[in-house]
Amino acid sequence: MSETQSRAAPVSEAKVTVYRRMKDLPSTHLLGSGTAMCAGCGGLEALHEVYDVIGAKSIFINAAGCMTLLSVYPFTPFRGSWLYTAMASAPAGAQGVRDALDILKQKKRMPAEEDMEVVVLTGDGSAYGMGLSSTSGAMERGLDFLYLCYDNEGYGNTGQQFSGATPHAARTATSKGKHGFAGYKKDLFSIWAAHKPAYVATVIGAEPLDLARKIEKAKGLEGPRLIIAMAPCPTGWDFDPQITVEVGRLAVRTGVWPLKEYVDGKIVHTKVPHERVAVENYLKLQGRFRHLFEPHRDDAMLGEIQARVDAYWADVTA
């Protein structure tokens, strides 16, 4: 890199984002209070941060999940429209809404400046499982939409049964045995990125600046843009709601939840934890992993979980 280029870098960075410091984040919020989400919900925390950046000119297409309960007639926290679909078909619903908006524009029945961002909002049950086929189809068709998945690693709305996003060894309502969930968390980021859409990113409410920059970037692009927000869940993961942010921050600092983005065919890690904290510090805050510590410490399992995280980061160059 030449000297001129490296000096130019901060300037282009300034152009890219209005969120350079924490103080650039909004101090009043767009998403209405009074929703039925649990106290301390990490998914709602991420959504309200995301919504401030997306803005009121947006339509949400919501698959069945916890956030179905955001809009229960006659109440809604959104400033714009909301459409409810079955669990497997939110991206298909988004296609219909996008097409309708395009037709209205084309026929000059709606001025172009009134156009809206079409946003799919689903939980991990839909994103990692039932809705994956319709998401794949939407990417294949190059649908211009934003997908926000709040990932609380299980079917939270029905009592935390395991989903394709549940991590290895976690206790769920359907994995109560001595060793918890036998499967492994699906790598949805890679599955999505393999479709080569315009943008894929991981975010978390506990890192609001990183989140705001990514949503801002996604907003400036066209085509399929997909975001996975890890959503620490006091109810499903069994921890006191006041430590939601602490749990989220530890997910990043231990390397369990890598913050990264896929853009222009490249994957970039946006926040590399250089001195990674041991994973057990993250696990022991959560009741769903209590069986790894009580009544006897399960060193073999803790070692296995740590080794998987280490193996992931060993391959990360950026």
């Binding site: 924490m22 103080k23 984040l25 101090s27 009043t28 919020h29 767009l30 998403l31 209405g32 209070s33 009074g34 929703t35 039925a36 989400m37 649990c38 106290a39 301390g40 919900c41 990490g42 709602l44 925390e45 309200h48 941060e49 009121a56 309960l69 955001l70 809009s71 007639y73 006659p74 109440f75 809604t76 926290p77 959104f78 400033r79 714009g80 029905t158 009592g159 206790r171 109560k176 409410g205 506990a206 609001p208 006091p234 109810t235 006191d240 709601p241 006041q242 430590i243 939601t244 942010v245 602490e246 009741g287 209590r290 069986h291 009580e294 009544p295």
Partner: protein, 310 residues
């Protein structure tokens, strides 16, 4: 048949409590139904669960409209209309409340002829909230008079085994202490005769005629109407900002509050919207200069009443 209705807030272990009671009845050889009401089992939100137990086959289904025993895990629910704590009770219904206050006070407040008992549960630390359910179920088992001490213990062990031995031990000691405390009131709840279907009274349905989709489909014509829902009623702890200590960083509490219940005023001071704050206490945990503290909602409300009467 016994019909028991549970009222609590999400996170107080009431769903588990109903399962424990149902299981205990089952172990005593009863026919049992136990079911929580599905839909809004949110931390802090009012929740409901139902247990029916009888020596004969039970033909009743659905929610319990006329309970023989009402268990209230949180006395702050009683004035909440949506919780419907006292709905369908009559003079033979027994009401069990987790409360510091005496049964006499509650009988007077509720203007209720039937029996009221209270079982105070120590919850100075929020980690103890989850044991409210088992404590109530211990007292309830004795009031019902149909469940032996050993059966209750076995039901608790079976239901809570997956939560680890510590939780089981604490639950056992709390439930059995509550069971013992109700010795004088053992068997106060009397079972009802199973009603025949001839006496079935349909609920108060409202019949809606079929309309064109444009007329009958729900449409909301304003944004952010959710603010009409007062989720502040969920709160058991209240965060209070010390504005002298607040360093007006202004993004931390306001950004992390999941509910958007903290906004910053024109002078740069964060203000908590108590109509909607659910009491998660993330702001208390995250405030860099520790300018937000948690106080008990009950005490805060009592102080407000006192202030208003001055």
């Amino acid at each position: 048949m016994f019909r028991v209705r549970f009222h609590g807030r999400g996170g107080q272990g009431m769903k588990a409590a109903s399962r424990i009671l149902g299981n205990a009845f089952f172990l005593e050889g009863y026919e049992v139904q136990d079911a929580p009401r599905y839909g809004a089992e949110r931390r802090g939100a009012p929740i409901f669960a139902y247990v029916r137990a009888g020596r004969e086959p039970i033909n009743e289904r659905g929610i319990i409209r006329h309970p023989d025993l009402v268990i209230v895990a949180d006395d702050s629910l009683i004035p909440v209309p949506g919780a419907g704590v006292m709905s369908g009770v009559d003079s033979r219904t027994v009401v069990l409340i987790n409360s510091e206050e005496s049964p006499k006070v509650w009988k007077q407040r509720l203007n209720f002829e039937g029996d009221v008992f209270t079982v105070p549960v120590e919850t100075a630390d929020r980690a103890e909230l989850r044991f409210i359910g088992v404590t109530c179920v211990g007292a309830a088992a004795r009031l019902l008079g149909a469940i032996k001490r050993e059966t209750l213990s076995e039901a608790i062990r079976q239901e809570l085994a997956s939560l680890g031995s510590d939780i089981v031990q604490i639950s056992l000691s709390k439930a059995l202490a509550a069971f013992d405390s109700m010795q004088a009131q053992a068997g106060t709840v009397t079972p009802v005769k199973t009603a025949s279907s001839a006496h079935f009274q349909p609920p108060d349905w409202i019949d809606l005629s079929l309309e064109d989709a444009r007329a009958s489909a729900p449409a909301i014509h304003a944004g952010a109407t959710s603010i009409e829902v007062r989720t502040g009623l969920w709160r058991t702890l209240r965060p209070v900002i010390d504005h002298d200590r607040c360093n007006r960083c202004w993004w931390v509490c306001s950004t992390f509050c999941p509910d958007g219940a903290i906004n910053v005023d024109t002078e740069g001071r964060p203000q908590i919207d108590y109509d909607h704050c659910k009491g998660c206490m993330i702001c208390v945990a995250q405030c860099p200069p520790h300018a937000i503290r948690a106080i008990s909602e009950r005490e805060a409300q009592a102080a407000e009443v006192e202030e208003a009467s001055k």
